[in-house]
């Protein structure tokens, strides 16, 4: 092959490759703003704390608040309930966690009321709701059962219900969204 022709072909290949590569890089970079625009907006990320007054929640009863668009389950636990979730072999659970690692004050359990199976809202907050075998929450969608610590005990769900970060800003008012960060393994 003639040397000049060969040189020309190499140069053309180089230009094709460079142009193609730049086109791919350009199109790829252009895709990022589009994808990122679907992530939560700055105000959505910044919002997401709520304050709940617990003064009227009697021992043994529950309160459902709203946090980041999901129900927040708050239960004022009785001494027997506290005993039932603390004096037990937590290491054998599906998602092993101590109740002490899921609460700030023993009488208050505060969790995001979303089943970790496929996102339904478990029953058990209202009087007369089925609470399952462990007296906690029962998910009507696929039968997951949680104890009074919100830990998965039976059924298809893989994880305990999520404990949001919170702090008590007074004896009876809890600030949910920032404060103590709970471990929540798996989330």
């Amino acid at each position: 092959m003639d040397q000049a022709v060969k040189k020309g072909a190499t140069r053309r290949d180089f230009l094709y490759l460079t142009a193609g590569a730049m086109g791919v890089v350009g199109a790829g970079s252009a895709a990022w703003p589009l994808i990122d625009s679907m992530n939560p907006a700055a105000d959505t990320l910044a919002a997401g704390s709520t304050e709940v007054d617990l003064s009227k929640v009697e021992v043994g009863s529950a309160l459902t608040a709203v946090w980041r668009g999901s129900p927040l389950f708050i239960r004022h636990r009785t001494p027997e309930e506290i005993k039932s979730v603390r004096d037990m072999d937590w290491k054998s659970l599906r998602d092993p966690q101590k109740d002490e690692d899921r609460t700030l004050k023993a009488e208050w359990i505060i969790i995001k009321g979303v089943c970790t199976h496929l996102g339904c809202i478990p029953l058990g907050q209202k009087a007369g709701d089925p609470r399952g075998e462990f007296n906690g929450w029962f998910c009507p969608c696929h039968g997951s059962q949680y104890d009074v610590s919100g830990r998965i005990r039976k059924g298809p769900a893989p994880l305990n219900m999520f404990v949001p970060p919170y702090k008590f800003i007074s004896d009876t008012v809890v600030h949910v969204g920032s404060g103590h960060d709970f471990p929540n393994p798996g989330f």
Partner: protein, 677 residues
Amino acid sequence: MSGSQEKEKFNNKTIQWINDRMPIFSMLNNEYGKFPMPKNCNYFWNFGAIAMVMLVIMIVTGVFMAMNYVPSTAGAFASIQHTTREVNYGWLLRYMHMNGASFFFIAVYIHLFRGLYYGSYKKPRELVWIFGVVLLLLMMATAFLGYTLPWSQMSGWGATVITSLFSAIPLIGGGIVTWLWGGFSVGQPTLNRFYAFHFLLPFIICAAVFVHVWALHVSKSNNPAGVEPKSEKDTVPFHPYYTAKDSFGTAVFMIVYFAVVFFAPLILANPDHWKPFNSLQTPPEIVPEWYFLPFYAMLRSFTVGIKVAGVTLLTAKQQGVLAMFGSILILFFVPWLDKSPVKSARYRPVFKWALRLLVLNMVMLTYAGALPAAGKALVMGRIGAAYYYFFFLVLLPYLGKREKTLPLPESISADYAAHHGGGAMKKALIPAALALGLALAPHAARAADTPPLPNLHWPEQGIFGHYDMAAVQRGFQVYKEVCSNCHSMKYIYYRNLESIGYTKEQVKTLAATYQITDGPDENGQMFQRPGRPTDHFKSPFPNPETARAALNGALPPDMSNLVNAREGGPNYIYAILTGYVPAPKDFHVMDGHMYNEYFPGHQIAMPQPLVAGQVQFQDGTPNTLDNEARSVAQFLDWASNPHMEQRKRLGIKVILFMIAFAGILLATKRKVWSDVT
């Protein structure tokens, strides 16, 4: 397109397998691979491909805009604000979409001019042309519908004016307008249906583009010589010759487009687009986007009804509406109005100049359309409309028969040999520059009865400009201590102040000094609580009525967008704040008003808000009126354009990348074309 019968062979087995069952790769190869293109096409032939790219950009950015848009009269404006301010890269989506419409029209107008100049509408390409005009109409409808969606002053009033055009239809016009609105004025049903149509039409445009290209691929492309290919020597395969040339042209076009998107995104937009729609007050000047101005100028040029024996045949309004719609519809008939056997204007010495004059005429009409509808605007509009119709109805048919044309080149190859490398690119730049000038004409036309604004230097100006955060913070102090007593800034959150240099703690403390109404609580009662960083700036009045009642009937505008909503931006803010001077002797100032040099009409309801020494700056800056006014203007500029610095930084990267890309594409194009003789 016309599928070929013979089976093609591909090296890749998967491609072969698919192609045997569905010859999509044969089709691609036939239509975009070996498709024969005249080898003498100049850079004007890029604009079809460029328009296609713009269509894709518009659909993609539009779909992502739609994900953040709320089609309600109460929520539309706020949702656009939210997109621009809070959504990740939302400002980029919006500015690409907004300016994309303009650049789509720039590309299509040049494409259309190319068709006229080189006779691309003539036999056998009449259908290509007709589908092109259909596309133009669809684009215009889509652009108009999109313009109404932000529900700004321009949106609402644009929607009112354009829909009211149909009221010119005798007898049933009023009913049609009510039907278009879904009510007795432009309102919620109108917005909802406009949104639905704005989303739908681009896909109909895609279908029409398919038909347009299909028709083109049957008749094949025209060329600057206007003679059809006679042998294989006259053509080159589409790929790689025109893929390379189109890619380079598109990259250059993109550089200009991105320059506007990143460095001057508001240059083509009317400031009234940053004010929410007020159905009780029309803006002092109602002007459409630049690409409609020539037609708008024709609409306004007719002011006298035609009467015969005391009976009105056509009202002035009807004439205007007919002239406007007619100016587009007449394009459908161009293939039959012009019967000249010679296609290209290059060999038609009179037609060439008549057409160039038509382009100048369009520029004049654009300028006229942007002026207030009186005096010289009307004169220019009438002359422009007259020449437009004279060109299509008289000159085209007459020249088609009588013009003495020049000898045509023997073949495309002969033409290529004669014109090869001869400044064709420079020629394509002329109409491109003209179109951009056209787009900017409205700026030139906006005049006022006030003295020219002071032209101060702002640190945020220019490609590398950035906010002087110390000044912006001082400006916030001025806003907080003075402006916020009457003016709301309801699209700004307290936490946004972190981006002008306040710490999280400072913002928290500041927000907590405001009492925000929240609720209802479990008893159904609204209650007051301290503000949080995630609250919007507290408005001084709970609603506009309270504000009017407290302020002598005047309603102070929300300041979130004030810099964008005023011609002149920060210069205007500065001018108003320092423009309180004693009224001239013969000037009567109404009760409750003050004289201000720079305020339109000079009578302003706002008492002089700032005087020297009013604000004790925390950083010890001397509190002259000049410093107070400058800093608050900078704060408001930041509030209107919080992402400006991010935008410019990204813009520099994008432009540098595009320049390098265009360079590589030019080298590729030259290399590819080096074997064409």
